[in-house]
């Protein structure tokens, strides 16, 4: 008891400082992890989602399996995947913005991370032509439009892939199932 009485100040300092140090070391790390977390919202085939003042619906998707440049201009082992998303303003809250889309799927990276494929800018290389009424880029200006995103991915990815859509710097990913 005498020892406790003599060292009570030191013990109190330890009792305060050690948990405080642990909190500073790990608390900020956990907070930054939460801040970087991505909110993924899955949208089933046929469903639509409202975001940024627009209604978004994946209305069509299709795969063209590569048979070689001599046959269909798509390299063997790859597939051209097209997805059409209709975008309709739902109210006056629609904002001017852009969105990024990517095809996500496959077996994943060696570390288990999701793999993604970017849109193809020059689709004519693969003898593909977008529909005349479709936009080749996602630019929101308050008007309805149909966005036709085209990807080149390894054959086989299409079966389980999704189309991920993100607005500007938003942390929310809208994940559309493809129509098979």
């Amino acid at each position: 008891m005498l020892w406790l009485a003599r060292n009570r100040v030191a013990l109190a300092v330890i009792a305060i400082c050690v948990p405080g140090l642990v909190g500073v070391l790990f608390g900020f790390e956990m907070l930054s992890r939460d801040a970087n977390a991505v909110d993924v919202r899955e949208i089933a085939v046929g469903d639509s989602v409202t975001a940024a003042g627009y209604s978004w619906k994946l209305t069509e998707s299709i795969e063209f399996v590569g048979e070689g440049r001599a046959v269909n201009d798509i390299p063997v082992g790859t597939s051209l995947v097209a997805a059409i998303v209709t975008v309709t303003p739902v109210d006056n809250s629609s904002v001017d913005d852009t969105c990024d889309v990517s095809l996500v799927g496959g077996a994943g990276s060696p570390a288990g991370d999701e793999l993604s494929w970017r849109t193809v800018s020059d689709v004519s290389v693969y003898d593909y032509a977008r529909r005349p009424e479709s936009a080749s880029y996602c630019s929101l200006d308050g008007e309805p439009f149909s966005y036709e995103a085209v990807f080149l991915a390894p054959t086989g990815v299409y079966e389980t892939a999704t189309v991920d859509l993100v607005f500007g710097s938003s942390d929310t990913v809208y994940r559309f199932d493809l129509k098979h």
Binding site: G68, R69, P75, V76, G77, T78, G106, S109, P110, A111, D113, E114, L115, S116, W117, R118, L152, A153, P154, V157
Partner: protein, 199 residues
């Protein structure tokens, strides 16, 4: 404190200082702890790192590069010359993760590393940002001093596929390339990047 205990304490201090000095002297350096893991292999065989698989398909030497096959609208020259020597490495690259850049690829000859030339018209492999699982064939071009090709090190050159310049604790594919005995031609055609058919 008695004299004996003082001596004991001093001895303990000396021993502890010795242990500390030994620990500091033998501890790995920061570079040792964070250096990349090199995955080496020969040319004409796939070499796989965490980020990519690369197969060097050949090496050529030239005084000039024929870049007329480029689709770049911002580049007007058809031929790039040098007073030294161009080394063209033809390779097949397939990435295994997202957003892999090859802009930091280097050719190591002896103790010197040369960065792949980034002023050739697109699309060479230097501008390549791969989509996973899609093999792309193309060329890297390196402008090197001619005299370096005459030393023994040229037979043991290495293509170092850094995805980022500081690849700490990451795997880096390294391909052995024998540059000795290659003829220096007047001009060689640069193979611009294109998606390779599956084999």
């Amino acid at each position: 404190m008695s004299a004996r205990r003082r001596i004991q304490a001093a001895c303990v201090c000396v021993v502890l200082l010795g242990v500390a000095a030994f620990a500091i002297g033998t501890a790995p350096t920061s570079d040792d702890l964070t250096s990349p893991f090199y995955v080496s292999g020969p040319a004409n065989e796939p070499v796989t790192s965490r980020a990519l698989t690369v197969e060097v398909q050949g090496a050529r030497l030239a005084k000039s590069l024929d870049v007329s096959g480029s689709n770049s609208l911002r580049f007007s020259l058809d031929v790039l010359e040098t007073e030294q020597t161009w080394i063209i490495i033809d390779a097949l690259v397939e990435t295994r993760v997202n957003n892999v850049s090859l802009s930091n690829t280097q050719l190591r000859i002896g103790d010197v590393e040369y960065r792949a030339s980034d002023f050739l018209p697109a699309p060479t492999l230097v501008e390549f940002i791969g989509d996973p699982g899609i093999p792309v064939a193309g060329s890297f071009a390196f402008e090197v001093p001619t005299e370096i090709l005459s030393v023994d090190d040229a037979a043991h050159a290495q293509l170092v596929m850094r995805s980022i310049l500081s690849s700490q604790l990451d795997e880096i594919a390294v391909v052995d390339v024998d540059l000795s005995g290659l003829e220096v031609r007047d001009i060689e055609v640069v193979r611009f990047s294109e998606i390779a058919e599956a084999r």
